[in-house]
């Protein structure tokens, strides 16, 4: 606004003074309101109890994650154990067998089995309310910076080999429901994925989890 004011052709000094004063007041009012908004948003601390609705949603999410773990562990128990000193051939063979068996077992599973639409809303709300503006911008930049073009938004498909993994900003990760080590949150653009750590299978996704 200050940048615009000097370009206006006002003939008289009084009018210029009034205009500038009004402009400054408008900016100050805007900044004050923005400050109030930021402060109000910042009051939702991490240790604030979740609403009953949110708690119910997260409990259901955790239960579905546990269901998936039971499925994948049934599969993994039948596979030869991968050594902690494996060759690339062994790693690749293990991943392929794991993915193939899991895909067969999960054939017919529909998207949204684990991520209900409320989860995406929860993530968006968390980002909007738990972080000041600057952090929100950084979180979005970090997530959107990754080159994930070509990653399919399809469940039961492996995350494409060679595609970059979006770094999940730790500040955000610490505010999301904690996952067991067998699965990870990933982002593809604004969409959130749940991916199996060991074999890269896209277990589920939810669109537009990023505001």
């Amino acid at each position: 606004m200050f940048a615009v004011l000097p370009t206006m052709k006002i003939k008289y000094g009084v009018e210029r003074f009034v205009f500038r004063t009004l402009g400054a007041l408008a900016v100050m009012l805007g900044m004050t309101l923005a400050g109030v908004t930021i402060q109000a948003q910042g009051t939702r601390a991490a240790d604030v109890k979740l609403s009953a609705h949110e708690q119910h949603m997260i409990d259901a999410f955790n239960a579905h994650v546990r269901d998936y773990l039971k499925q994948r562990n049934r599969v993994s128990r039948k596979l030869p154990k991968l050594s902690r000193e494996a060759t690339p051939e062994q790693i690749n063979a293990y991943q392929k067998s794991f993915v193939d068996a899991l895909r067969a077992m999960r054939a017919g599973t529909m998207p949204g089995y684990i991520f209900k639409p409320e989860f995406a809303e929860y993530v968006r709300t968390t980002i909007q309310t738990e972080f000041p503006v600057r952090d929100r911008v950084e979180i979005k930049q970090t997530i959107l910076e990754a080159d994930t073009k070509g990653v399919p938004l399809k469940i039961n498909y492996p995350y494409p080999e060679g595609k970059e993994f979006t770094q999940i900003p730790p500040t955000l990760l610490l505010k999301l429901p904690q996952l067991p080590k067998e699965v990870k949150y990933r982002f593809v653009g604004r969409h959130m994925l749940l991916v199996d750590t060991d074999n890269g299978l896209i277990v589920d996704f939810t669109p537009n989890a990023l505001p």
């Binding site: 970059e164 770094q167 730790p170 990760l173 610490l174």
Partner: protein, 309 residues
Amino acid sequence: MKRTFGSVLGLTFFLLFAVNSGLQGQVRSGTSNGNARGAHAASAPVKITLPLKKGSVRFAVIGDTGTGTSQQHELGDILLGSRQGFPYEFVLMLGDNLYGGETPADYKNKFQDVYQQLLDGKVKFYAALGNHDEPAQRFYENFNMDGKEYYRFTRGNASFYALNSNYMDKKQVDWLESELSKDSSEWKIAFCHHPPYSSGGKHGSDDQLRKVVEPIFVKYGVNVVLAGHEHFYERIKPQKGIFYFISGAGGKLRSGDVKDNSPLTAKAFDSDMSFMLIEIADDGMHFQVLSRKGETVDSGVLPNQKRQK
């Protein structure tokens, strides 16, 4: 008071740094180093400036290596050649160990073939995961990760913490804090892919990572943090008493990416690829940074912060 003390301590470290390394302020290497693409430097003599003290811990640091390009090979040759004058025992890998595919052929072309002579010489590689690395790399025999995405190992009086900065969840944060709280090593060195501080134009400082890990580093006296992700070398001015380095030009180069006059930079080198050699001895942590031509682009010695107090 604490802040003043911290500032004085930080300034002291920086001055010691500058005196020891013969550097004052930001000295960016000129273009005279040039772009050495195509210049196979295997036969170039590598002059070692490290003290080679008896009983010291000696290692190399490479980052963002996994391309399989001739440039990676050329730098790999210098890494190999430097071992003749500086017999390091192991190599830290700062992530992006394999770009664009992880088939057995990728492991071979982008890692094994490049460093085969070091592997034959029983040099151990300890890897951290980057944003281009599948977590399954933790099972790879030559990355010595013991099946873990984050882990710790010790050598002499130094502890090394490999962190997965791509996925720093609560479990990892708790593990880091727990391990550090029990660690009485004289040197605590963390290495990961994303840099908490950086003057890079492409990425820059990872503020969200820093907010989570730096308070833990400070609380438990981490001395040095090594990171990659940025495809250049940068030594950061000490931050909160911690020495931060970026060494992410092991397989890729982002030429000219370091911002001019960045207040973070103590020394930067972004006109050729590079790696670090480090020696931890009684009198501090000595370092030397070598380019693909075998030229020393930075060197110095860091005092141990605990001893300074």
